[in-house]
């Protein structure tokens, strides 16, 4: 091995260790946060950020890994929220309602995917623009869920912020674990192949239709569970809130900003979005979506890998400096 590759290899091992250690350290740090007694508001922000991360990681399984962006993930969030809400009000244990929420969302994903995935073309993407709107309209008219005025959850147990916080954290962690399991499995390899070249993937034996349906179902299930956790926390949900197009937009902005098609990109994006969003909406209520739109354009034009892509570039720069000569990478 030449000196250059030795350094690269050493950098590789170090990088790999760091890649797993750093996020795990951060994750465990998040576990201790409440002990630091940052106050109810900060905990709330972190909780909501965990939910954002969950949805972001979920979206990425379909939009990033498989290359099928959906513009309507709010539909799963909302369906999950209402499912949990109805369950909890019906006396079901909240923690049982979350898997149910996930299941209902997964089922809904099949209804969208079955007609659209088998066709060549952008049908899926466009159909997703309409789906959350259609569901929103239907839910607004549905009397037994409160219609447009929303639906309230009444629980006998007192509100315990820490319980919600840890549930959110667990969900975010679960999302990341599932994301990793998918990514490094045979299933994930198939998804990557589909993303790169669906025709060639099919010619190599990958069943694109079933794979996409499965990825969509996993992503929908996770998002549904996130919606359920949110519903219990908020204790009040309405169609205009959980099925809003803005929410679909937020869910897809996070992975794009953080780095689509990576494990930690959506986490980064979710974290950044969750923390900044509060500030941004407070200070520049009219600007923030404009900024995000411009950000998406800049990202696609100049650094499609998002923040993770930027970090990768910086790392390569550092490696080159260490090697001591400017070699083409």
């Amino acid at each position: 091995m030449t000196p250059g590759t030795q350094f690269a290899a050493a950098g590789g091992v170090v990088a790999r260790v760091l890649r797993f250690a750093v996020p795990l350290i951060l994750l465990s740090a998040l576990g201790f946060v409440p002990l630091a007694d940052l106050g109810a508001n900060a905990t709330k922000v972190l909780f909501l950020t965990c939910l954002s991360i969950g949805a972001s990681v979920a979206w990425n399984i379909l939009g990033g890994f498989t290359g099928q962006p959906s513009f309507g993930f709010a539909v799963f969030y909302g369906l999950g929220a209402y499912t949990s809400a109805l369950c909890i009000n019906g006396g079901v244990n909240p923690y049982l309602s979350y898997p149910l929420a996930a299941g209902i969302a997964a089922l809904a994903s099949l209804l969208i995917g079955l007609p659209t995935f088998r066709l060549r073309g952008p049908y899926f993407a466009i159909a997703t623009i309409g789906v959350s709107e259609a569901v929103r309209v239907v839910m607004t008219n549905l009397a037994f869920t409160g219609g447009a005025s929303g639906y309230r959850i009444t629980e006998q147990v007192p509100f315990r912020q820490l319980e919600h916080y840890y549930t959110g954290l667990a969900l975010a962690a679960l999302a990341v674990v599932i994301s990793m399991l998918v990514r490094y499995s045979r299933f994930g390899l198939g998804l990557r192949a589909i993303r790169d070249d669906q025709e060639a993937a099919a010619d190599s034996g990958v069943n694109p239709y079933v794979s996409k349906l499965a990825a969509h179902a996993v992503a929908a299930a996770l998002t549904g569970a996130t919606g359920g956790v949110y519903a219990r926390y908020a204790a009040f949900i309405s169609p205009d809130g959980v099925f809003a197009f803005q929410r679909s937009v937020a869910i897809l902005l996070m992975p794009i900003i953080g780095g689509v098609n990576t494990i930690w990109g959506p986490v980064l994006g979710g974290g950044v979005y969750g923390v900044i969003e509060e500030e941004l909406t407070a200070r520049f209520p009219e600007f923030h979506l404009l900024l995000y739109g411009a950000l998406v354009i800049l990202i696609i034009l100049f650094e499609p890998g998002g923040l993770m892509g930027l970090l990768g570039r910086m790392r390569r720069l550092v490696l080159r400096l260490r090697v001591g000569s400017w070699q083409p990478s």
Binding site: P69, A134, V138, V249, E286, F287, G293, V296
Partner: protein, 297 residues
């Protein structure tokens, strides 16, 4: 319901279809030639509406004149956008993920620029024509609807002319069919693509202006029309222009007559349901079915 009532509904549907066709055509052109799903179409519709509104408010120009002005104005806007974002809009044979997301980002920017400049409240363009109707016995035709319909049909006819009788139009049609052959034959692919994008945006802006005459509008008002355009394209067959008329007619008829069966608050869900039905039953659209029948005959 009397026969006259039915006739009135059919007339409404036909008038609506003309408008929908004009709205959809901008997206069809861009998709057909460049395989780009222009999500920002909704944003340009909205800008078109506000353009005509501002021109009417500030310069006192008749809205129809505003629509006519919108054409060249938005054509150049389209060229500008394509030039600025060209890196992310490669001319390709298939819809690409980056182009989809790029157009989405553009849509966000346009929509929120709209909110910034014009706020969230609805606006309308009111002219003496707006509430006038023509009456023939029991048949009522809203004057403004008729005027918009005529404009839409005229612009589509002009498009047909351009596509079939000019060199540019021939280049566009060639590009739709076979990109590689175009290069060999001497068609300047990048330039034609840019002009096509401009044309698509021109139609979006003008159609938006026409819509502004019919409906109140706010920065988000493009979104339902985005979905409708796509439903029309799918119904009509993703890459045929005559299909656009057919698709528009079907959508307009379904929407108009659905009022009889479903409460009006469910209206927005209709386009989506129609889309799903169309995808399940008619991949390739109605035009595809007709083409298939013709081939087998």
């Amino acid at each position: 319901m009397t026969f006259a009532d039915y006739l009135n509904l059919v007339i409404s549907a036909v008038l609506l279809a003309g408008t929908y066709a004009a709205v959809a055509v901008g997206m069809t052109i861009i998709y057909g030639v460049m395989k780009i799903v222009n999500l920002a179409h909704a944003g340009f519709l909205m800008l078109g509406a506000y353009f005509v509104y501002e021109v009417h408010e500030r310069a006192g120009l008749h809205p129809l004149l505003g629509v006519a002005l919108a054409f060249p104005a938005f054509y150049f806007l389209g060229i500008l956008v394509h030039w600025a974002l060209g890196r992310g809009i490669p001319v390709s044979d298939e819809p690409t993920l980056p182009s989809l997301l790029l157009m989405f980002g553009l849509w966000l920017v346009l929509q929120n620029l709209g909110y910034l400049v014009w706020g969230t409240s609805d606006r309308s363009i009111l002219t003496p024509m707006t509430f006038a109707t023509l009456r023939y016995g029991e048949i009522t035709i809203p004057k403004i609807g008729l005027v918009v319909f005529i404009c839409a049909v005229l612009s589509l006819a002009a498009l047909e002319f351009v596509l079939h009788k000019t060199w540019f139009g021939r280049a566009v049609r060639a590009l739709i069919q076979n990109r590689y052959a175009c290069r060999i034959v001497g068609v300047h692919v990048q330039r034609t693509a840019r002009m096509t994008f401009g044309l698509g945006i021109a139609f979006a802006g003008a159609a938006g202006g026409l819509l502004a005459l019919l409906y109140p509008f706010s920065p988000d008002f493009g979104r339902p029309f985005l979905l409708r355009s796509f439903v029309i394209i799918v119904l009509g067959g993703l890459e045929s222009f005559s299909g656009v008329f057919l698709g528009a007619l079907i959508l307009a008829l379904v929407e108009t007559f659905s009022i009889l069966a479903i409460p009006s608050s469910y209206q927005p869900a209709i386009s989506f349901s129609l889309l799903v039905v169309a995808l399940v039953v008619l991949p390739g659209g109605v035009a595809g079915v007709i083409a298939r029948k013709r081939r087998l005959a």
